[in-house]
């Protein structure tokens, strides 16, 4: 489910986004608000990963999002890799009133970076800002990590922005990826217009960097 789609101007990107975070921080509520603009305080614990989809158009680029909601309890970590493999983005949610849940997010950042490197775009989300009075995670502390957002699924705050921003970043990552692949990691898009590219000898691949290891 990596960045797919066909070539050409009207490209469609398909991204997989996974929501992770401790139980009861509002992962399901975020997805539900974003995809269906609903908020429900009568719902059941998420035990089963489930997904919803959303279609976007960002500056003429079509994006299909498959958003995966996951179970929060530590015990279900065992199934974590199944959920986040092949993800283009991850939304790591904590509850601003719950310091513990913020610590869990930090652990997720570490795990995802270790398992997926920089290929995945991470967002840290402090949810339930409608409960600002009960905040237990200071804004300063929270801002220290990866790209940070503040949301309220209940009041529908910050959620559109979160997903839009994430999509833009995933598009950038996908484009950079394509450039790297398409042009054999050498001179990027500059060679496109006006310059005739002539296929040269197959050996050229070996001559990339002068001396230093260029495995990138």
């Amino acid at each position: 489910m990596a960045a797919g789609g066909t070539g050409g101007v009207n490209k469609t990107y398909s991204f997989k986004v996974v929501l992770l975070g401790e139980g009861c921080v509002g992962k399901t509520s975020l997805v539900l608000r974003y995809c269906e603009n609903k908020f429900n305080d009568k719902h059941i614990t998420t035990l089963q990963a489930s997904f919803l989809t959303k279609k976007l158009n960002i500056g003429g680029k079509r994006v299909n999002l498959a958003i995966w909601d996951t179970a929060g309890q530590e015990r279900f970590h065992a199934l974590g890799p199944i959920y986040y493999r092949d993800s283009n983005g991850a939304i790591l949610v904590y509850d601003v009133t719950d310091e513990d849940s913020f610590q869990k997010v930090k652990n997720w950042v570490k795990e995802l970076r270790k398992m997926l490197g920089n290929e995945i775009c991470l967002c840290i989300v402090g949810n339930k800002i409608d409960l600002e009075k009960e905040r237990n995670v200071s804004v300063q502390e929270a801002e220290g990590g990866a790209k940070h957002y503040h949301t309220s699924a209940k009041l529908n705050k910050g959620i559109e922005e979160l997903f839009l921003d994430l999509c833009k970043r995933m598009i950038e990552t996908a484009q950079a990826d394509e450039r790297a692949k398409g042009n054999g990691s050498s001179q990027a898009g500059t060679a496109r217009r006006g310059v005739q590219i002539v296929d040269d000898e197959p050996q050229s691949a070996a001559t990339a960097g002068g001396g230093c290891c260029s495995s990138g």
Binding site: G23, T28, K38, L47, Q48, A78, L79
Partner: protein, 316 residues
């Protein structure tokens, strides 16, 4: 996968997104979020299983009513069995099974489950144990997690609708007692719906011993750290699917839909969140009688249904 509380037997493509949608519609039409303490349940239509809404609420189509005279007959037979249970278990187990297959009469279901599961024996062997556990202070880490889950079990069942109501209190007691009974196991979120279903049918102490039996005898390892047993059963189910429906098998394989992505909730909650309520009860009658709802042809309509929905979703 697609949220599961929806009615697994109805082919309703609108329902792909499942329960949350249904729950929401019900709610927006009726219940204010803060009014629940005030016992709005009385104003609402409560079905015969205690549901006031939600996807599992009883509908005309979801179950056939059995004529009262048949129910009376069955009750008499079950009372007779329960009164000399050991004898029946030793000598006429086949008959018990047959009667479970027909469905245990609602009025005796709780008692029957307690007997069938062996919870009754456990309770008698451990008199006072539950009260002892109940009076202890639990591990705050587990209690914290349990408390967060109390209002998220069958929120449309009259027993669990009120925050801090009797249903939620008993649920807390049962789950807490289990973490004290098996501190090395602790609490798994999937135990809560199981305990809740039990509590709909029996008092806390009995529900506790039934839960113990389910966790240790029926579904050993399902709720333990690592969740290995459930993953293993997922593979077994998938292998079985290959035999039953190659098309469905290949489709899931092609799209890398790991069994864990759709069967965790079915199996860990013994279908209590998946099927229409009348079916849940019948499945549980058999579950207690025959043991683990292993990958079984019974699951196949469910799985085929899932595959169709997935196809529809994918190619939409």
């Amino acid at each position: 996968m697609a949220r599961n509380q929806e009615n697994g037997l109805q082919t309703d493509s609108q329902n792909l997104r499942g329960n949350s949608e249904n729950l929401l519609e019900r709610e927006s039409s009726s219940i204010g979020s803060d009014s629940e303490i005030n016992g709005f349940t009385t104003e609402k239509h409560t079905d015969k299983y205690g549901f006031i809404g939600g996807a599992q609420q009883h509908t005309e189509e979801s179950a056939q009513d059995i004529p009262p005279e048949v129910v009376r007959q069955r009750e008499v037979k079950w009372l007779d069995m329960l009164n000399s249970w050991d004898k029946w278990m030793a000598k006429r187990h086949k008959k018990i099974k047959l009667r479970c297959q027909k469905g245990i009469p609602p009025s005796l279901r709780g008692r029957a489950w307690l007997f069938l599961s062996g919870g009754k024996v456990k309770l008698e062997q451990n008199h006072g144990k539950f009260q002892e556990l109940d009076s202890k202070v639990g591990d705050p880490n587990w209690l914290d997690v349990i408390e967060k889950d109390l209002h998220r079990q069958f929120p449309f069942h009259e027993m669990f609708v009120s925050r801090g109501g009797h249903g939620q209190q008993d649920l807390y007691r049962v789950l807490k007692a289990y973490t004290l009974y098996r501190p090395e196991e602790g609490y798994c979120q999937a135990q809560a719906p199981i305990a809740a279903v039990l509590l709909m049918h029996m008092p806390a102490e009995e529900a506790f011993w039934c839960l113990v039996q389910i966790c240790e005898k029926y579904l050993p390892g399902y709720y333990s750290a690592g969740l290995e047993a459930i993953q293993l059963d997922g593979e077994v189910l998938f292998a079985l699917l290959r035999r039953v429906s190659t098309v469905a098998y290949k489709h899931l394989k092609k799209h890398k839909i790991d069994p864990v992505l759709y069967m965790t909730e079915w199996f860990m909650c013994a279908f209590s969140r998946t099927l229409p309520w009348a079916s849940v009860l019948r499945v549980w009658d058999m579950f207690f009688c025959e043991g683990k709802p292993r990958p079984h042809p019974l699951h196949m309509p469910c799985l085929t249904h899932f595959c169709l929905r997935h196809l529809w979703f994918y190619y939409r």
